[in-house]
Structure formats: structure tokens, C-alpha cells
Symmetry: C2
Subunit: 447 residues, 2 copies
């Protein structure tokens, strides 16, 4: 649902239309669309921003990536910065302050009201990738003896400044979370219904230190629009909203996908050459080291290869197929961990299944390649050697594909990170070792 203008039309409108019509029109424009225009026309940024109302600028800042927030804010005079900051939501302000150095952060804190500054300081004390780190502190709390009509009048008075009203909360005098009323439920009940009649009381908040990815999966599972965040004493600290969560899930998944392939989590497809090199070269160098390790295994067996040169031809197949099988297992385990589908209950079952996959796929591929090896070399033992090496390597592949991410997770390292380098090292080193080692053992039958 964007405005019926393309980006270029929007740019011209924002630059040249009378400011009065911009101000009137602006509520029909989504801040994300203006942000797109600002991205693509950096030279016009200052001019465009200075024609927009302060509330709308705050909305744009809420949608901007964090490093961009600061750049945009700095386009304004000190006074105007202060007004814009007042309109911004606490969670977005916290993100902004979180990346600034202390000096800059203090300057911005000084521009806030005492109350806002206190809230933001509090929010800054939570780890940024937890429920509390992503929550907003703006929410509406109700008393149970209010009626639906009274609640609506309350929302008419105080709801407009608050974007997070998809659910309303009931707390006791110690701020403990007692219940939740969805806005949907509120508006479908007669005006004189009491809140106490429609409040859901059997609810559980998210503990403040829950990992943000876990928070995301709960939203996915239950389809909520907001969720309450509580401390250890069940005091309501703030709420998390579905729109923030969607972006977090997208970023976490991109991070996993990138890490599995050896790319920095932050690399953008349309980033600069320098950023790409910085993101990928270190990983390639790590891979080079492990590749050299694997090839030094080959080096040990050069004497054997010299006698049976076809070993060199078949060598990459054994290692490569192990790598493929390992990557399959690794991927399903990493994604299973990320989605919470792999847990203590089914861990053992999954392990035996993966070993089974290694044995059965290994046997199938081993028989095929064994027969081909036999035909190619005209030597039965050659076929046996490559077939057995293939089976052994595929079993190693699935076992390492299973164990590596789980061990990394135990040590609190992201299972997606560095997993594939470990797994391919195992399958390369052992693949070459099994194949060339067996060939050396049976050398007299091969020459």
C-alpha cells in the first residue's frame, strides 16, 4: 500500500510541492517510501528532510537502519533535533544511542526530557539482542473495573501518541502483569462490558533476557501482534511488536545463510567491492589453510599415486561427495536449531537418523562408484577400495555435519558460523586418508 507515485515523482513532490500540501499529504505517504527516496538521492536529503514535519521525520528515523538514523538526525539544528527526538519511540532511540560513542550519546540524552532519558538509560542496560533490548516501553495499561466505553475514551485521549495499542495490558499496583485485552476483542464487545469480563489472565510474559530469535519464533508460532516483556518478578517492562520482530527474523536468517557460506552477516548484495573483500577474503584464507591441510594428506601418499595414477582421478570424487553429504546434514541441523525444531527430546533420534543416512547413502554411492572404478581400472580391488572409502567418508560426513553445529552451540558460538569449514575439513582430510590409505594397504593388488 504505497502512495500512487513512483520514487522519482515522490522525490519531485517532496522537493518542489508547496510545504503546506506536503504537510497535508504526508499522512498518506509511508515513511519507508521516503526513506527509499533519501537512499537514492543523498544530495537532496537535507532539502527534503527540512520540508517534512517533525513527527514524520521521527517516523522515518524509526524505520531507518541504525547508522543511518544518526546521519539523518545530524542534518538538523540542535533545536530541531530536540523536537524530533521527543517524537521518537524509546526502542528506536535506544538502538541509536547504542551505536554512538559516549560523548555523542550524552549529547543526545541531554536533549531528551528527564523522564525519556531515564527510560532510554534503562533500556540501554539490557543486551541489545534480547527481548528487553528490542522492546518498546510505550504501551497502554488498563484497570479491570473500566468499561469498554471508558477504555475507548481513554484511547481517544492517550492512544494517538502511542503506536503500540494492538493489545492493552492490565497490571497491578506493583506493575505486575495480570492480563491482556486485544484491541480486536475490545472493539467487538458492547460499550458497557467490563474489562474484567474480557481480560485474558492466564498469560505468560517473555522473560527480559530471552534471545531475540527465540522471541521471533514465538511470534511465528502463535501469530501474536504484540507480546509483553517481564522481569524475574513478572513486572511488565515493555512490549515487543510484530513489525520489529519480522525485521529481526529476516536479519537473523540472512545472518545464518551468509555464515553457512562464509560471508560476513552484514554484507549487502549491493555493497561496495571493499566491503565484499573484507567480508569474504578472511574466510577464503581460513579455507585455504584447511585445503592445504587436506592436500598434505595427499602429499603423504604421493608414492602410492605415482604407482597408480588413476587414484588422482578418483580422489576428488570421494572427498567431494563427503563434502556434499556433510553440507546436507549440517544445513538441516543448523536450520533445525535456529527454528527450535531440534531440542533435547529428539536430539538422540536425529543423531541415529543421520548416521543411518550416512550408511545408506554411502552404501548406494559407494556401490555405484565402486562398480565404475572397477570398470575404469579393470581391477576389482580398486573398485572395493574406492567403494569402501566412499562409505566411510559419507558416514564421517553425516556425523560431523551433526556434531559440529551442536558442539559450537554448546560453546555458545553461532552454529552457522564456521560450521562448514570444520565439516569440509573433516570430509576432505578423512576422505583422502581413507581412499589413499586403503589404496596403499592394498597397493600390491592395484599395480
Amino acid at each position: 500500500m504505497k502512495l500512487n507515485m513512483n520514487k522519482e515523482e515522490l522525490r519531485k513532490f517532496l522537493l518542489h510541492a508547496p510545504q503546506s500540501s506536503i504537510i497535508k499529504y504526508v499522512e498518506n505517504i509511508h515513511p519507508v517510501d521516503v526513506l527509499d527516496v533519501l537512499h537514492e538521492n543523498v544530495d537532496d536529503r537535507k532539502d527534503i528532510l527540512n520540508r517534512l514535519p517533525e513527527k514524520f521525520i521521527a517516523d522515518i528515523l524509526d524505520e531507518a537502519e541504525i547508522d543511518e538514523k544518526y546521519e539523518i538526525l545530524m542534518e538538523f539544528s540542535e533545536n530541531k533535533q530536540k523536537n524530533i527526538i521527543e517524537e521518537m519511540s524509546s526502542d528506536e532511540l535506544t538502538d541509536l544511542l547504542g551505536i554512538l560513542d559516549e560523548n555523542k550519546a550524552n549529547k543526545i540524552l541531554a536533549k531528551m526530557t528527564d523522564e525519556d532519558a531515564r527510560v532510554v538509560r534503562q533500556l540501554l542496560s539490557y543486551a541489545p539482542d534480547t527481548a528487553a533490548g528490542i522492546m518498546a516501553t510505550e504501551f497502554i495499561s488498563l484497570k479491570t473495573d473500566m468499561t469498554v466505553c471508558e477504555t475507548l475514551k481513554y484511547l481517544q485521549k492517550y492512544g494517538q501518541e502511542n503506536e503500540n495499542i494492538d493489545d492493552l495490558y492490565v497490571v497491578d499496583k506493583f506493575d505486575k502483569l495480570k492480563g491482556i485485552v486485544s484491541l480486536k476483542e475490545l472493539v467487538t464487545k458492547d460499550f458497557d462490558t467490563k474489562i474484567s469480563d474480557i481480560v485474558h489472565t492466564k498469560i505468560e510474559g517473555i522473560l527480559f533476557n530471552t534471545d531475540q530469535e527465540e522471541v521471533g519464533h514465538r511470534f511465528e508460532k502463535y501469530g501474536f501482534l504484540t507480546m509483553p516483556v517481564v522481569d524475574n518478578s513478572n513486572r511488565l517492562l515493555g512490549i515487543v511488536t510484530v513489525d520489529d520482530v519480522m525485521q529481526i527474523l529476516r536479519d537473523e536468517t540472512t545472518e545464518d545463510i551468509h555464515r553457512l557460506a562464509g560471508i560476513d552477516e552484514g554484507e549487502k548484495v549491493d555493497g561496495t567491492l571493499k566491503e565484499s573483500i573484507r567480508s569474504r577474503l578472511p574466510w577464503l584464507i581460513i579455507n585455504l589453510v584447511t585445503a592445504i591441510l587436506a592436500s598434505s594428506v595427499v602429499g603423504i601418499f604421493e608414492g602410492t599415486i605415482e604407482k597408480v595414477v588413476s587414484l588422482a582421478t578418483f580422489m576428488p570424487i570421494v572427498a567431494g561427495m563427503g563434502g556434499n553429504a556433510g553440507t546436507q546434514t549440517l544445513t538441516i541441523i543448523v536450520r533445525g536449531l535456529a527454528l527450535g525444531e531440534l531440542n533435547f527430546k529428539n536430539m538422540k533420534k536425529v543423531f541415529f537418523k543421520e548416521v543411518g543416512v550416512g550408511v545408506l547413502c554411502g552404501a548406494t554411492i559407494g556401490v555405484i562408484i565402486g562398480v565404475l572404478g572397477y570398470i575404469w581400472e579393470g581391477n576389482f580391488i580398486f573398485g572395493i577400495v574406492i567403494g569402501v572409502a566412499m562409505i566411510l567418508n559419507m558416514v564421517v560426513a553425516t556425523i560431523s555435519g551433526y556434531l559440529v553445529p551442536i558442539v559450537l552451540k554448546k560453546f555458545k558460538v553461532d552454529p552457522a558460523l564456521a560450521s562448514s569449514v570444520f565439516v569440509t575439513t573433516f570430509t576432505d582430510v578423512l576422505g583422502f586418508f581413507f581412499f589413499l590409505g586403503l589404496a596403499t594397504l592394498f597397493l600390491r593388488y592395484l599395480v
Copy 2:
């Protein structure tokens, strides 16, 4: 926010509590939690289901995976099935009918009211992975001359049966989409405000045949709770809601991750051994064919390897590093395409960046491995051969990592599917060819 019972307590409650207290309590239980209990206790399924109210069973069915929907529904008598179907939402019923054979589908259609059956038949005519395929037809439409108070009274009367009221829609007498009022906005305005004063009219619906992944990304970008789906004449057909979209995005991403690794999109981490073998073995066999293709390139050069056996030692490094670089590019391109960050505008720029990455990373890795080769063999030309082969292969790697997914997309094949097999075939075949070919050319300097 789940019920304060663990799964075992919930199971016992559902099986043994008086039915009256279940019916009273059930609105505090999330259907997803009951679904979890049903998953893990298949033997109790029928008993538990038969104690639940029909509306709640419909809610459970709305949350269940499609093949499960049918199984659960079949636990009931024909009569009860009819009642449950009446409570289900049109989009979920459509999903269910979409997987059944015609006979079964007709049986279920016969149990619906004529009007519902007509709607579902219409929905079945849309492609399931498009906006229209995932939309619900239940939404509230308003007239612009209503006041906020009248609208609230209307919602009190008709809103309870309708879960999709986060946004309300204004259509003209030809059903054309004219505007949208968010529920948030409605409840924060005075009772006598006219809808015409708060309606957003500059909106654009999603065209019915838009791909569901694209729909998902618009939700992510704009943070909407619902979006309207329209036909070519801008008639409002239905709406898509954020909770459905989150599940779609999760599944689409899992599909991409799985396909990049050569796993069936539907494989579950805790599935059966048979399912895993069926998902992975075909892919391994395809990889085997390409591995044999690559090794037949090695076979051509057996004569050269016989003379300089160290070539066998370094051979896997050239091919492997090309594979790594290719996977990096491939992954960033596939994800960029999926997120819509790679488009016609920046396609050329990204291509040249990737070539640059290939040249620069290739040069760095090429120099390192060239020096190591020189030291290992004590032969300067050997170092040059492996270094140059590495540079060439890394450039091939980034170019094929860029081109393969884009070409697949042009041919309307999922860029994640089969991309990696193509890219590694290129880097293996050409990696061996460059290295061993150059070695053969300069053979007299190597022996």
C-alpha cells in the same frame, strides 16, 4: 503467552477435567499449544478432540499443517465435520481442499453452505503461492459516511465472527478498493468522527497474482498488519494478514536454505530416515555425476600427473577454493534475489563488483598458493602455474556464482534450486582444467 501449564499438565487437563471447565477455560488456551499436545500424543487425539468445542476445533484446524488438517477432521462424525467446517476460515479451508483428491474435496464442499462453497471454489481457482492463494475473504467493509461510533457498533455486531479486523476497508458499489482505516486509528478518534475524515485513500492493493514471497517482503518493509488483495480492475478480493505471512516467509526461507544445500524443501530435522534418504540421495547422485565429469578432466591429464605427481597434491586446492568463492557469490545473489535487494537497477553494478571480488581474492589467494607451491616444489614455474590457475578459477567462480541463479530465475526456476550443483561443476571442471592444462603446457619446465 501460553497457558501456565506444561504440555503434560495440559494433556491431562484436556483428557480428565470436567467438560464444563474445559469449555470455560478454553479461551485461555492457545490452539497451537493443544496442537502440540495432539502431535505428541496421537493415541489421545480422538479423545481430546471430542471434548473440545467446535469453534475451538476450527481454530486448531486453522493452525494445523495441511496434511494434518484432514486427519484431524476425519476423527469426527459427518455431522460434526459439517459444524466444524462452518467455523473454519475460507483461506484455511481452501488450503485443505487444495491437497485432497476431487472425491474427498467434493464431499467436504457438500458439507458447506452454498455461499461458503462458492467462495472456496473461487479461492481454489487461484495459484496457491500467490497473494490470492493465501488471502482470506473475511473482512469488514465500511461506508465513508459512517461515524466512529456507528462503526464500533457495527463491529460489536459483526466483528466477533471475523478475525481479520486489524484494518477495515472502504469499497465502492462495484467493490473497488477506495480506502483503508486501521483499527488503531478508529479507536483513537472521537465517537462522532466520520470515516471519511480518517480513511486513507492513497493506497494500492496487492495484485492477486503477486508471488507470496514478494507479498511477505512488502509486509516486512512496511510493517503492515493486513494488506488488501485486488484484481486487475482494483476490485477488493480479500486480505492477507501478517500472521499467515510470517509462516510463509519462514517456510520460503527454509526452502531456500535447504535447496542451496541440496535437500528437499520439505525435509524436517526430526523426520524419518526414509524421508531423509528420499530427500537427499537424488541430489547426491546428481552431484556424483558432476564429480565424475570433473574427475574425467583429471583423467585426461593422467599422463602429466604421472610425470609431476605433486600436481595431484595441489589439485584439490584449486578446485576447492573456486568452490568456496563460488558459493559465497551464489549465496549473496540468491539471498539478494529472495529479499528483492537485487534488481534491474543494480544488477550491472553487482556483476562488476563480483568480478572484482574474483580478481582481487583470486590474486591474493593465488599469490599465497603460488609462493607455497614454489617452496614445496622448489620450482618457480610450478608456483606460477598454480597461482595463475587459482586466479582464473576464482574469477570463473564469482562469475558463475552470479550468473547461474540469475539465469535460473529468468527461466522461472527457483534460483536456490540446483544453483550450487552448477556452480561447483563449473569450478571443479575449470579448476582442474586450468591447473592441469597449464601444467601440461609448461610440462618441460616442471619435470
